[in-house]
């Protein structure tokens, strides 16, 4: 496919890797924010092409992984109601809540449906006026324009039986939380190309300055990631800390304006709890006042409680780049994609699942 295959060319990848080898003079630790990038790094063995001085840490950029247990429990509660059709992206179904996941609700007869787009859920609501349709609105900035549009159209069309369970998180506050942590080892970031396609990258400029850390907006194919690493390493070697854009074919500095406008129309910035990390101020989106009638938590008056995480799972440390998955004692033994203890093992973009799929048996805790 055009704009995919050419960015997987092994010859060019080798040349980029050589350029990185030539540039590096000392050890550097770089974090890729996005789970999609983590997945590609493992799948294509990109980390194995890099010189030993470069350590790639995997960041918190997997919305499935950071959705708190409380929200999974709420989803389970909603999906169990007979009047509800509960719609979700497929990868949320196996994330463990306190007592069960959405897939077991479905097995027990709950009406849980996998949809491709939030607009599909809206269509379902229009077609089933006697049922309540709830969409599990999980995601980063990339997904926010789609969810905003579904709610906006629901309001315009006066659809009464549609609502969303919101778990929307934002990348820049998470980067700052990582940088502020006393255990932070990250010296440079690869920012997420599709998040920046929507939001642009002006928000990252003050962060790069304040913490003196290079941030390179990077795409998802092997050549993108290698070029992103190269640009980041060059900045580190030269002592620069700027925001650079590797993913120029999709990302413009100001981002996608119409998408941002609709996000701002429907959502406002709110504090959010991240699974494994805790609450981060101003780190997510919630529905604005005029749209709160579409908030499933309000419509169904769901109980709010906070829940303890399974103690064995160290996914919080994995998500912050402090530990790598094979350092977890449960990895690959008590915790596998079939029987996940933590969300980072469920989502294909979770670091634990990526290591399990591509590096099982290999000594990967470099």
């Amino acid at each position: 496919m055009r704009f995919i295959e050419e960015y997987r060319d092994p010859e060019s990848a080798k040349r980029l890797a050589e350029a990185i080898h030539k540039t590096v003079t000392r050890p550097w630790t770089i974090m890729e924010i996005c789970g999609g990038q983590t997945h590609a790094i493992m799948k294509f063995g990109i980390d194995e092409l890099l010189p030993p001085q470069i350590t790639l840490l995997h960041g918190p950029g997997c919305p499935v992984c950071v959705t708190p247990v409380e929200l999974i429990d709420k989803a389970v509660e909603l999906a169990s109601r007979p009047e509800v059709i509960f719609c979700s992206f497929g990868d949320m179904l196996r994330v463990p809540g306190t007592s069960k996941d959405l897939l077991s609700v479905k097995a027990e007869g709950g009406d849980v449906r996998i949809v491709y787009s939030p607009l599909d859920a809206l269509q379902l609501a229009i077609k089933n006026p006697d049922r309540q349709v709830v969409f599990f609105a999980v995601g980063f900035e990339t997904t926010a324009p789609a969810n905003a549009m579904a709610v906006y159209q629901a309001k315009q069309k006066g659809v009464q039986n549609f609502s969303i369970l919101v778990s929307h998180v934002l990348v820049p506050p998470a980067i700052e939380a990582i940088l502020r942590s006393p255990t932070c080892r990250v010296q440079g970031f690869l920012a997420a190309g599709h998040v920046c396609t929507v939001m642009g990258y002006t928000e990252y400029e003050p962060i790069a300055q304040r913490y003196h850390v290079p941030i390179v907006v990077t795409g998802f194919e092997p050549l993108d990631i290698l070029q992103g690493v190269y640009m980041c390493v060059r900045q580190l070697e030269e002592g620069r800390a700027e925001v650079e854009n590797q993913y120029v074919r999709s990302v413009r500095r100001e981002g996608n304006r119409p998408a941002q406008e609709l996000i701002r129309e429907v959502f406002e910035v709110v504090p959010r709890k991240w699974r494994g990390i805790g609450e981060i101020p101003q780190s997510g989106l919630g529905l604005r006042e005029p749209y709160q009638q579409f908030d499933a938590e309000r419509r169904f008056a769901l109980s709010t409680g906070s829940v303890e995480e399974a103690s064995e799972c160290i996914s919080g440390l994995v998500l912050q780049g402090v530990k790598k998955p094979p350092e977890c004692p449960a990895f690959g033994t008590r915790c596998t994609p079939e029987h996940p203890l933590g969300a980072t093992m469920v989502s294909s973009e979770g670091a634990c699942a990526a290591y399990f799929k591509y590096r099982r048996g290999v000594q990967a805790a470099r």
Binding site: M1, F140, T142, T143, M149, R249, N256
Partner: protein, 84 residues
């Protein structure tokens, strides 16, 4: 989850800017895609699509950047070798 892939617009229908849709081909697999966020997109353009929405138009010129970059690096590499 932030997976978004490039596809080519085959046709466009609808005049309402909010519901303008395109038939987009992903290597032969065709899907309906909402084009509200890429108002200037036209038939033949490649768009990056995420959960049924086009979020950007692929800039064909910028898409060559990485290869251009490689070429330049190669030239620089040559220069370095000559200097030593």
């Amino acid at each position: 989850m932030c997976l978004a892939i490039p596809g080519q617009i085959l046709s466009i229908s609808g005049d309402d800017p909010l519901t303008r849709t395109g038939r987009v081909s992903f290597g032969g697999i065709v899907k309906e895609v909402n084009l509200a966020y890429v108002p200037e997109a036209k038939v033949g353009d490649y768009v990056i699509v995420h959960v049924g929405f086009a979020i950007s138009i692929v800039d064909e010129k910028e898409a060559q950047e990485v290869f251009e970059y490689l070429r330049q690096m190669e030239e620089l590499g040559e220069l370095q070798e000559q200097a030593t």
